[in-house]
Amino acid sequence: MLKILISEIMMKDLKRFIFSLCAVPSVSGFESRSTEALRSLIGDELEFVSVDGVGNHLFCKRSGKQNAPKILIDTHFDEIGLLVTEVLDGGFLRVCQMGGIDPSIMQASDVVIYGKQTLRGVVVSTPPHLKKDSDLPKIEEMLIDTGLSTDKARELIEIGTPVGFAPVYTELLNGRICGKSFDDKACAACAAFAIVNTPKEALAGDVYLLLSSVEETNRLGGAAAGAFSVMPDYAMVIDVNLARVPDTKDFETVEMDKGISISVSASTHLELTRLTEKLCVDREIEHSMIAAPTSTGTNAASVNLTACGIPTVDVGLPLASMHTYTEVVSMRDCETLVKLVGEFISSEEIAEKMNFSEVSFI
């Protein structure tokens, strides 16, 4: 009963749901440790299908229609983090990175160590008084201070223990929110929120929500295996996109508070992309078109090539300070994303045109 209550409250408050989902630990490669937490958060609002061998979590909402097409919405659930490589005397840890982390954000950061117990730690920072030069050490050369004795540290923390950044969430002015692992869990939250809040009768097909694994650390991402097991008729991949700030180049970034982006790319389906663009125009959903020529650099590239090929559209949520613990997104853009996902899974036009099971024969 409590479980249902939590999810019922969550699904009425997008911001709270984003914060809650982002707080579920999911260092790349260790996603399946959080199955219970994830299930209790989403509750019975969506049918839980499976957690597979590569750590993908699959949820479903069925339309109840006969011969309904399968629509896949993919967002990756893993987050960047660290992995313990050595437990040193004095309770210090050596780590390596899981996913792309800039060493300059590491020193003095708060971390959570997911050992036999969940522990806190801090990354040791050399005081300026002791620094000989300004060279930044590599992540592999940095230390995490656990405060534990040598014996206790070795008892609780094994080599191979995942370490994540501590979840601290802040609301900025003008609807901006700040925290960690918005990449890509803010998108995951928006997608889940949209699917839950779209009435079953409105769905154009059975909707599969894939919270995929290892996007940050594996060339194909867990989405390749996830898409193969769903074998959908068409798919939308949602990931974060680089937001424009004063020091970035205009042609490499997208503006915040101006809605979501849709990629034009060789690695996505052109017709589905244009249909999604049209949907945005028709339903007044704020969007911009961006060029991602050879590849989107997201799961779209691998989902698109799964099996006989799955028509895929790539959608981006603008995010500033990507791959830090103070990533920033705009709630306005998040709401736009929710609207787009809701319209996309309800679009009869897209369902009708993305039907490749009846290909034309002469």
Binding site: V264, H269, L270, V359, I362
Partner: protein, 334 residues
């Protein structure tokens, strides 16, 4: 079919990776009398099927329809277009070249002032379509639009042709020629003529097509480099020396039995051939080999000089050898 006129028609139809619709329509029209069924899959691969009478091997023959090009990523206030590359563009070959968009907008591709040729990369190039402002440019071009170096083909001395994009429209023309040669030949197994998409961005289309077809034997028709130009890296492959039977390239080692079968077929039918070992570059061969549960693969290549430049060069007699060799080989095994 008239090989040269088909080749020319295919070359003059810009279709960059991910945007192959126009060339697919042209090829569909040409191949339809040579096959029993046609379908286009989700990625845009054109799959034409010649049905067998039953019991034979499933043979997949593939040539890629796409070509390298540029995608517009941003429109500057000045009306100049920022671009990114699609596929392996040589910027020294592209600099100051004529370009045309998929919608027929003409322009020229220019390196920024003071950038030295050694530092050429996509960031330092822009397309000038003559627009006076961003607004004027936006009326002609959208973000995501493709440009190519303006296509052209002409005949040179000695039965050679020069232009672009011979990679791989000449392979498509050879595949069409093969389909015509096999049209009236009753074979046991099905033959699948696949005109694949997105080869230039990582051999993608052939992978999903092969997954759908599950061929026993797959043969790729693509261009290969030669060692017969001034300053070329050593390579025992020459323009005019016949169909190149691929032993390996950087992406694949071909099935030994297929290599032997192709060479024997060439000898039996007195078809001019040579062996090809390409030390760089990949082809759809590798994707077909690894799709699904895998297939035995080979490739017959058309020797080509100056690949990925604005002036690629082939010998039409080599293309004819390729068509003859593959059609005879399929007759033998099919």
């Amino acid at each position: 079919m008239n090989f040269y006129s088909v080749l020319k028609e295919l070359c003059l139809c810009p279709s960059v990776s991910g945007r192959e619709q126009k060339i697919r329509e042209k090829i569909s029209a040409i191949v339809s009398p040579f096959c029993d069924e046609m379908r286009t899959d989700a990625l845009g691969n054109l799959i034409a099927v010649k049905k067998g009478v039953g019991g034979g091997k499933r043979v997949m023959l593939a040539a890629h329809m796409d070509e390298i090009g540029f995608m517009v990523t941003f429109i500057e206030d000045s009306g100049m277009l920022r671009v990114a590359t699609v596929g392996g563009i040589s910027f020294t070959a592209a600099a100051f070249g004529e370009v045309v968009s998929e919608n027929g907008v003409r322009g020229t591709i220019i390196p920024e002032e003071k950038v030295k040729p050694a530092d050429f990369k996509a960031d330092s190039f822009y397309i000038d379509i003559g627009a006076k402002s961003k607004k004027q440019a936006e009326a002609k071009v959208r973000i995501g639009d493709f440009f190519v170096l303006t296509p052209h083909v002409q005949k040179l001395a000695g039965g050679r042709v020069c232009g672009r994009p011979l990679d791989d429209r000449i392979g498509c023309a050879v595949l069409l020629d093969i389909a015509e040669r096999l049209r009236d030949k009753a074979l046991d197994g099905d033959v699948y003529y696949v005109f694949s998409v997105q080869e230039e961005v990582g051999c993608r289309g052939a992978m999903t097509a092969a997954f759908a077809i599950k061929p026993d034997i797959a043969i790729c028709l693509d261009v290969t480099a030669t060692g017969d130009t001034l300053g070329a890296s050593p390579m025992a492959c020459r323009l005019g020396d016949g169909a190149a039977v691929k032993i390996k390239d950087a992406s694949v080692i071909c099935n030994e039995e297929i290599v032997r079968g192709l060479c024997e077929t060439a000898q039996e039918n007195k078809i001019k051939y040579q062996k090809e070992i390409l030390l760089f570059g990949g082809t759809d061969t590798s994707s077909m080999q690894l799709a699904g549960a895998g297939a035995a693969v080979g490739a017959v290549s058309i020797p080509t000089r100056y690949i990925h430049s604005g002036n690629e060069m082939c010998d039409l007699s080599d293309a004819q050898s390729c068509a003859a060799l593959v059609s005879e080989y399929v007759k033998k095994i099919g």
